[in-house]
């Protein structure tokens, strides 16, 4: 509560927010809105600065990158950094690994999670409540806390430096099950009763009737899972020791480790390639994506 009251600063801007658009002195409103616009433009510019610096530095010659005073936009544009990052790292391999790892986890998790969620939401069986509570409880376990034994297990299976080792431990996820269950619960019962009377089995009802109705939820969960895994650093760092099996995210950190002095331009070129697929995909689906985060809520 104390922190809630610690935001009176927002109060000064808030009036404009909470005013329904009725009878108000127009001129005063406009001034308030103008201040909001200017403030928002400044904040947005600052928020986008790191992304701008990645894009612009990636094409900046080394001499300019190291020049003082520093500049934002390159005077001359070059592809040298791009060429260099490809030789510094097995770059295409790392990008491929990222796609296989993040894509594999996403595909498996969507299938396994939706199957389990279906049973928990729409099949009445003994022990359902207890199982649901167990799954909700396991939501609270941070993966960092079980990393050591998970690594031991993966290592005993001989899966270190393999895709099964990277993917299998994440092939199902308590959050995904819980998340999809909420959507399955919301679907009307009548939806499948006709098919049931016609003798369709449970799997057919799941596949042809229930799943098509939750495509947006699957899409949201899929994007989230993909982004989180693509961006994860600790996981590939632990489960891959060979450079060739790393992801783009873990591979880039090799360039900057202790003693690994690398020109900023090359680092930014690598960073640009690392964020490009996600940023492009996000911008394509952003409206739906943000709305689904807002209305359904998701883990970060």
């Amino acid at each position: 509560m104390s922190s809630a009251t610690a935001t009176p600063a927002s109060g000064s801007r808030a009036p404009a927010v909470t005013d329904p658009p009725i009878r108000r002195p127009r001129r005063r409103m406009r001034a308030g809105t103008l201040v909001s616009i200017l403030a928002m433009l400044a904040v947005t510019a600052f928020v986008l600065l790191p992304i701008a610096i990645i894009v612009l530095t990636a094409f900046k010659p080394t001499a300019e990158v190291n020049a003082y005073p520093p500049t934002l936009v390159p005077d001359t544009w070059t592809l040298d950094n791009m060429r260099r990052i490809v030789t510094e790292l097995p770059f295409s391999r790392l990008v491929l690994n990222s796609f296989v790892f993040a894509g594999g986890v996403t595909a498996f998790a969507l299938v396994f999670d939706s199957l389990a969620a279906y049973a928990l939401a729409r099949i009445d069986f003994r022990g359902r409540r207890a199982l649901l509570i167990a799954i909700i409880a396991s939501l609270m376990i941070p993966f960092q806390a079980t990393l050591v034994p998970v690594y031991q297990l993966v290592s005993e299976l001989g899966w270190v430096n393999t895709f099964p080792g990277l993917i299998a431990p994440r092939a199902a996820d308590a959050f995904g099950i819980f998340f999809l269950r909420q959507f399955f619960l919301a679907l009307p019962r009548d939806l499948d009763s006709a098919a049931r009377i016609d003798g369709a089995n449970e799997f057919r009802i799941f596949r042809s009737i229930v799943l098509p109705n939750v495509v947006p939820a699957l899409l949201t969960l899929g994007i989230f899972t993909f982004v989180n895994n693509w961006n994860d650093l600790l996981w590939p760092l632990v489960f891959t020791t060979e450079q060739e099996m790393g992801t783009i995210t873990s591979g880039l950190t090799l360039l900057t480790g202790p003693g690994g002095i690398i020109p900023y331009g090359v680092m930014m070129a690598g960073s640009l390639i690392a964020i490009l697929p996600l940023v492009v995909a996000f911008l394509l689906v952003q409206r739906r994506f943000i709305e689904s985060v807002a209305t359904t809520g998701l883990k970060g």
């Binding site: 922190s3 927010v17 329904p20 799997f203 900057t256």
Partner: protein
């Protein structure tokens, strides 16, 4: 899932009606399928996920608990050492520092991210503000950038020699110096990188929370003669307070898992000043192979996260009550 976002696992606004559905089952179904039959079907659906969760969540949890009472070192024999690892967690100066550092990190990250998100949500929620879609998208964009890449970009921006932000600040008389080598500034720096990446997520949640507040309440307050500030204080604040607490706990859980950008920017330095719990787990578990010790530390993280999660569920429920 992942750390980056500050990755914790929790659901926002998806109150689980625990088993509450069973009462609403149409009676006709039980005629067609017996309970045993349903149990078998359910098991078939659940099996793949349960195998994965049992092998990679449940078993590791038990295994970590056992390891935490041994001197396991990745090879050779394991000896039972009782509570030695746990006492080391709280007496070993380096580890105690990691706990203190994590708390400090959370104390910087949580309020900054949550308040920034709230203020921006209040501004962007104004229907008169133009380009709201653009602002919303831009503020959320950092969320898809990995913390590692964010760390690269910010390291360059605050580089003592060629950093653009360093240069701009020196223009207004602020000498930043070598932030990442500075024992007092390094921690705020790595925490603010996480704020940059995560606040957009909290911002979107606040935005949804604001839009959930019924317009009729504002109308009622207006009829009662409440001014803009009064409506904010008496309608917006109380109705948003549980969302606020929920997001706050969510951010705190995320803060406990800080790793990625610290690994990239400082490696825990200077002189251990940015060494966090997860950094310490990584180093003891995967570099020094002190598995028993790493497991004890893991359990400290686990219990802290559990306590915060329970708090979160409380706010969760309270928020639903508010809106119903």
């Amino acid at each position: 899932m992942s750390t980056q976002t500050p990755g914790s696992r929790a659901a926002y606004r998806a109150p689980a009606p625990l088993g509450g559905r069973s009462s609403g089952r149409p009676p006709g179904r039980s005629l067609l399928r017996g309970e045993a039959r349903r149990g078998t079907t359910a098991l078939a659906f659940l099996l793949p996920a349960l195998v994965v969760l049992a092998a990679f969540v449940l078993w590791p949890m038990i295994s970590a608990l056992r390891l935490s009472f041994t001197d396991a070192a990745g090879f050779g024999t394991e000896n039972w050492v009782g509570l030695e690892n746990y006492s080391a967690v709280f007496t070993d100066a380096g580890v105690r520092d990691a706990v203190v550092n994590t708390v400090l990190y959370a104390a910087i990250f949580t309020p900054t991210a949550v308040v920034a998100a709230l203020v921006l949500a209040l501004v962007v929620n104004n229907p008169r503000l133009p380009w709201r879609g653009f602002f919303r998208t831009s503020l959320f964009l950092p969320f898809v950038v990995s913390l590692a890449v964010a760390a690269f970009a910010w390291s360059y921006l605050i580089d003592p020699q060629v950093g653009l932000v360093t240069y701009w600040l020196s223009g207004v008389g602020i000498q930043l110096g070598d932030v990442l080598e500075d024992p007092t500034l390094a921690m705020p720096a790595v925490a603010l990188v996480a704020v940059w990446k995560s606040f957009g997520f909290y911002f979107v949640i606040f935005l949804a929370g604001l839009q959930d507040i019924p317009a009729s309440l504002y109308e009622a307050a207006r009829v009662d003669g409440a001014g803009a500030l009064g409506r904010f204080r008496h309608v917006t604040l109380p109705l948003l307070s549980n969302t606020f607490a929920f997001v706050g706990v969510f951010a705190m859980i995320a803060a406990l898992q800080a790793f990625d950008q610290i690994y990239v920017m400082t490696g825990g330095g200077p002189y251990g000043h940015t060494q966090t719990i997860v950094m310490e787990i990584y180093e003891s578990g995967f570099r020094k192979l002190e598995l028993g010790f790493a497991s004890a530390l893991s359990y400290v993280l686990l219990v802290a996260t559990l306590l915060l999660s329970i708090l979160q569920f409380v706010f969760f429920g309270r928020r639903e009550e508010d809106l119903s």
